[in-house]
């Protein structure tokens, strides 16, 4: 197996480990030195926004412990850290969602206190949130301008100008959609881009992006990169959070690494390398991209023959002609750009959407799941991409969220087997390094990545014959990603057929045995992962292929 | 309007206060029975649902429909006046039952037994049975409702005038319902250090609820309970001694009189001798049970 140190979960949680080579000697303040300002700035540029010694506690648990960081005009700073390190919390403090329990915030060198998001907004700070926070019922244009609707001479809302500006903002991101359509009709990825467009229309001085690319595919990410460069050239300060380290290299000039609520290192991206960043985040060595044990594919479990969705559904027919085979003990990677129809394909297999035409064969026999329950009964599991909307029960405990699929069978009369559930969960907590103060606390008290791990555990525990995973590591940090990857490899090795949908090409390449590409709802290629390259796949995912 | 002729077909809208009170259900049933006997009379019924706007809307609809006559028990005397005037202007004859509307002189007749007067009869029955005074619990109807106010007022008028020896030890709203009457009485009985001698209730349902509470406390026969309405259940209870009395306003008689008066006018143009056809309410005790209108329904 790929794990060098035995119980990785425990190791990660020890904050105080002396073995953190790249860590600066606990450096609050030092990273805030104006010296770390962008090279292009002539002389010394005063920081625009500066956090000094931020402390934050939730439920009495210290989440941030004296973190300092600064942003100068035109600076693009990466904020890095494992799941639960406190990145989103810093952002919440910078934008007035929460108030710090200690430390201070300076804007243009003067202390400020934001008690509401409104005030941060007025100060020119706009935020792209990690969890989508859009208005499902409003039109795209209105969602982009919510809170800042343009007015005409009569003091009424200027719908025309608003639509025009919204169209322009989306075009900058390379997206052409009907700005009158309700937000709810968009894919997660498009919603993510609407969220980005929202921040761009604000003419802000500081733009904070919390994992903006979590569900974007390479094309959109490249667009975003250009925009960040434009913003920076225009003197806007950017704080950029992502678990994709290649993006950090490409977009950011400076960085700050958080670990367990403390800033452990900071500096210029050009003067560090990815392995040392990972070391700083994890506080240990992490082996990246370890290949799994060789797997022996068995009989076909799932076969799709010219599958198509119902024409005239929302947003048109997303899936037109998809054919593929997934065998037992094999991981099939499904690659495609946003809107290619991967999620919709998965939804049809799992019985969430009606099938238009074509065949689904399960274990060689025609199969149509009328409902998720039927699909589960047939041995299919599905981890959806939309964690907040389709996976978690927000008010319920971690344990209950885990038990939801009934992986641990109930006793007579439907009596819950609580000890059995607790035992099963404890195994996954160990295995995946799930960090939770209490398994009986609501799942919303966990960081996004840890929530994702609980959801994965929920489905893996069910021991399906076919597991469909849609964006398995969306929002998961590097270290945990390795845990999740090795777990996926392990269940495949155990004979489960895995259909892996991911917009993260390195992930698809690292995990899959074979890779199928989709373009506009049609399969365009199939090849062994060993023969595939990023460039080759991209070509087949896009029109130019 | 011109008389329609002796055997003309006649359509009449009947709009009672509410069908939630058996009083009006009985009134309407008897009225329909009388109409059947007269022959050629179609009765259209609308439920006032204790709402003046609802009643106004119903009458407006009836005017459109072109009825010949309207029998109305107005939820509110002032509120219904304009629409009644409108009906009369449209050539429709109007008779009020149970209670009048205010300020419409052209109403053909008001066939009524005043709630205030009935409650006075209730109070007088108490005075008669307890000449030396009594401690009294008063169960009122729906707060703010006109019937509740009138019945409360009538009882108070008599008993307050009868002197200091009549003491209201508790006054609570039982909302005209049996379960609320029962609950409130249970609570009052425990709250009072001494058992009251009399319970007066603004309708029979509450009185019957109170009788159950009294029975459950083992006080049967020690508290005299006075109802109002002369309903079937109440008459039975008077007979068995669970209630001391109930007040009969003779709703059936009112209904019959109203419809025959109205039809006579529509067909033949005959007006009643007086526009006020008053039915005197009577307190029914075990002694005069045979005077009750619904006594026939309670069997032997």
């Amino acid at each position: 197996m790929s794990h060098p140190s035995s119980p990785p979960g425990k190791d990660q949680q020890k904050p105080g480990r002396a073995s953190s080579p790249g860590a600066l000697p606990s450096a609050p303040g030092s990273d805030a030195a104006p010296g770390s300002a962008p090279r292009s700035a002539p002389g010394v540029t005063a920081p625009l926004l500066e956090a000094r010694g931020f402390v934050k506690r939730f439920f009495g648990v210290t989440v941030l412990d004296g973190v300092s960081l600064s942003l100068a005009p035109g600076e693009v700073r990466a904020l890095l850290g494992e799941n639960g390190a406190g990145k989103s919390t810093i952002i919440n403090l910078l934008s007035g969602v929460h108030q710090p329990d200690g430390g201070m915030l300076l804007l243009d060198g003067a202390p400020v206190r934001f008690t509401r998001p409104l005030e941060a907004d007025h100060a020119g700070i706009s935020v792209i949130r990690q969890e989508l926070s859009l208005f499902p019922d409003l039109s795209v244009a209105e969602a982009i301008f919510a809170g800042h609707l343009p007015l005409n001479r009569l003091g009424l809302v200027d719908w025309r100008q608003m639509r025009e500006a919204a169209r322009k903002a989306l075009a900058r991101l390379g997206l052409e959609i009907d700005v009158r359509a309700p937000v709810a009709s968009l894919s997660i990825a498009h919603q993510q881009m609407v969220e980005i467009a929202r921040a761009l229309t604000r003419k802000s001085r500081v733009v904070i992006m919390d994992e903006p690319t979590a569900s974007l595919s390479p094309n959109e990410v490249a667009h975003l990169g250009e925009i960040i460069a434009q913003l920076s050239a225009g003197g806007v300060a950017v704080l950029y959070v992502s678990h994709r380290l290649d993006e950090i290299r490409a977009f950011c000039r400076t960085y700050t690494v958080l670990r367990d609520g403390k800033a452990v290192s900071a500096g210029l991206v050009s003067e560090t390398d990815i392995p040392s960043l990972i070391r700083d985040m994890a506080g240990r060595e992490v082996e990246i991209g370890a290949a799994g044990a060789a797997r022996q594919p068995g009989a076909p479990v799932l076969e799709l023959q010219h599958l198509a969705s119902v024409p005239g559904g929302r947003g048109g027919q997303r899936v037109r002609d998809v054919s593929l085979v997934v065998r037992a003990g094999e991981i099939l990677g499904l690659a495609g750009i946003v809107g290619a129809g991967r999620t919709e394909t998965a939804r049809m297999i799992f019985g969430l959407d009606p099938v238009g035409s074509g065949e689904i064969l399960l274990n060689g026999r025609p199969f149509r799941a009328g409902s998720p329950a039927a699909a589960m009964a047939a041995g299919i599991g599905y981890v959806p991409e939309d964690r907040k909307g389709l996976s978690i029960l927000p008010d319920r405990s971690v344990a209950e969220n885990f038990a939801l699929t009934g992986a641990v069978p109930a006793g007579p009369l439907g009596w819950n087997d609580r000890p059995g559930e607790a035992k099963a969960l404890a195994g996954f907590v160990q295995r995946l390094g799930i960090r939770a103060a209490s398994l009986r606390a609501p799942i919303t008290t966990l960081s996004g990545g840890n929530q994702q791990k609980v959801i994965l555990a929920r489905w893996i525990a069910l021991k399906p014959k076919l597991l469909i995973i849609d964006e398995p590591t969306r929002g998961i940090d590097v270290g945990a990603k390795e845990d999740v990857h090795s777990l996926i490899r392990e269940i495949a090795a155990g004979g489960v057929a895995v259909l892996l949908i991911s917009s993260d090409l390195p992930e698809v390449l690292a995990l899959s045995d074979r890779i199928v590409t989709l373009r506009e709802g049609e399969t365009t290629s199939e090849q062994p992962a060993a023969d595939a390259t990023s460039e080759g796949l991209m070509a087949r995912m896009t029109r130019h292929g | 309007a011109e008389p329609k002729g002796k055997d003309a077909e006649v359509t009449i809208l009947v709009s009672p206060l509410t069908f939630a009170f058996p009083h009006f259900v009985f009134l309407t049933d008897e009225l329909k029975d009388e109409a059947n006997k007269l022959g050629g009379v179609t009765i259209v019924v609308a439920d006032g649902q204790l709402s003046a706007p609802k009643q106004i809307a119903d009458i407006e609809a009836a005017i459109v429909q072109g009825v010949d006559g309207i029998i109305l028990a107005p939820v509110e005397a002032d509120a219904l006046a304009p629409v009644v005037q409108q009906a009369i202007d449209a050539g429709i004859a109007v008779v009020t039952v149970d209670r009048p509307v205010n300020g419409v002189p052209d109403v053909l007749a008001n066939v009524a037994a005043d709630n205030f007067k009935g409650a006075e009869a209730q109070g007088e029955a108490v005075v008669k049975a307890f000449p030396d005074g009594a401690t009294i619990v008063n169960l009122q109807g729906i707060p703010g409702d006109k019937t509740a106010n009138d019945r409360n007022g009538g009882a108070h008028k008599v008993l307050d005038a009868a002197g200091e020896k009549y003491v209201f030890v508790a006054e609570q709203a039982g909302n005209f319902s049996r379960d609320k009457g029962l609950e409130v009485t249970e609570n009052i009985l425990t709250g009072l250090a001494e058992v009251p001698q009399v319970i007066i209730a603004a309708n029979d349902d509450m009185a019957l609820g109170a009788a159950q509470a009294v029975d459950a406390r083992g006080l049967k026969g020690k508290v005299a309970i006075y109802g109002y309405d002369g309903s079937e259940d109440a008459l039975k209870a008077v007979k068995s001694g669970d209630l001391a009395a109930t007040v009969d306003q003779f709703p059936g008689l009112q209904g019959r009189t109203a419809v025959s008066t109205l039809v006579a006018f529509i067909r033949e143009g005959t007006r009643p001798e007086s526009a006020e056809v008053l039915v005197a309410p009577v307190a029914i005790t075990a002694d005069n049970l045979d005077q009750a209108e619904r006594v026939g329904q309670i069997g032997e």
């Binding site: 409104l118 019922d137 | 703010g144 006109k146």
Partner: protein, 335 residues
């Protein structure tokens, strides 16, 4: 965009439009049925009757539209109508004989002052409820359920349980007067609806109402003053209830504590029949007007057809559910 995509889009738009028209279609169907069963239903007199009957709870339903759009609810409107009606009555009469006097010589005040009193009472009561919802974060259902009994209690206390009636001509004009063939309350209803429509569709405040209802957290993060919007919306329905209370008192020439009983449910029904979602964020005033008309037509038509009162209740319930089911069915087709 390809042509096929454009076609699909315009088809989707057509369906969406149909979805918006669903309540109207249902209303027309109902009118046609009633008219064919009883032609007198279509007499102008009857149509104006329906309009007048609808107008008071229609005014309240307009306010309720705002409340429901922000995912709220207001069960207190019926009680507010009673309370503010009594306030107007007390002012118009200059006090209550034998209990308390407002003016030195016992004479009443001008209708304008009375109207002001009603509207003020309603607005302040609404504002108080809005505070409890926005600042104490007590669910609106609870606050206004409490408000319902509190305001009814206050109304009882004001009038000591009895009605206050008999106002002057000018006072009565607002509820019973006509301008040409059109009853005054209908005009008031129309004006309120029109203003509300402009506010909801064309102003920042109106759009903030939709944003708050669609996603309150996102609204807060977008810099919208969510508590401010909440407060204003409850004050607004208080205003509408106060106005409704005044018009009702004027129409009935009397105010009493049991007035307006059940208006809350009628108003909510009108809003929901009109296609506004109880989960907030979608719907609007135009639908509410149709919803109010639909309930009015229903009650009027059943009486005109001489349906027995018990059966009427059964039919009203079934038809309301059917109207909303129809709306949802059409809307689902457009997905």
């Amino acid at each position: 965009m390809t042509k096929a995509q454009a076609d699909e889009l315009s088809r989707a738009r057509m369906y969406a439009l149909l979805g918006k028209l669903a309540p109207l279609i249902f209303l027309l169907a109902l009118v046609i049925i009633f008219a064919s069963l009883q032609p007198r239903f279509l007499l102008p007199l009857n149509l104006f009757n329906i309009l007048r009957q609808v107008s008071i709870y229609g005014i309240i339903a307009i306010g309720m539209t705002f409340v429901i759009l922000i995912r709220g609810i207001d069960l207190s409107v019926g009680a507010l109508v009673a309370m503010s009606g009594l306030c107007a009555a007390v002012v118009a009469k200059g006090g209550i004989e034998g209990r308390f006097m407002l003016s030195a010589d016992g004479s009443g005040y001008h209708w304008a002052l009375a109207a002001l009193a009603a509207i003020l009472a309603g607005t302040v009561a609404g504002l108080l409820q809005g505070m409890a919802v926005a600042w104490l974060s007590v669910p609106a259902f609870v606050v206004t359920l409490g408000g319902m009994t509190v305001f009814r209690g206050i109304a009882l206390t004001i009038g000591n349980g009895g009605p206050i009636s008999g106002f002057d001509e000018a006072f009565g004009w607002w509820g019973r007067g006509m301008i040409g063939p059109v009853p005054v309350p209908v005009l008031i209803f129309a004006a309120v609806a029109l203003i509300a429509w402009v506010v909801l569709t064309q102003t920042r405040f109106g759009r903030a109402v939709y944003a708050v209802g669609s996603n309150p957290d996102a609204a807060r993060l977008s810099g919208i003053n969510v508590s401010g919007v909440t407060l204003s919306v409850y004050a607004l329905i208080g205003f509408c209830s106060g106005l409704g209370g005044f018009v009702l008192a004027s129409r009935l020439n009397s105010a009493e504590a049991v007035a307006g009983t059940g208006y809350e449910l009628t108003a909510i029904a009108a809003v929901v029949i009109g296609g506004t979602s109880l989960y907030g964020g979608t719907g609007g005033v135009a639908g509410t007007v149709i919803g109010a008309l639909l309930t009015g037509v229903l009650l009027n038509g059943l009486v005109i057809l001489n349906v027995s009162p018990y059966t009427q209740q059964i039919l009203v319930g079934l038809i309301i559910v059917a109207a909303v089911a129809f709306d949802h069915f059409i809307k689902r087709q457009s997905r």
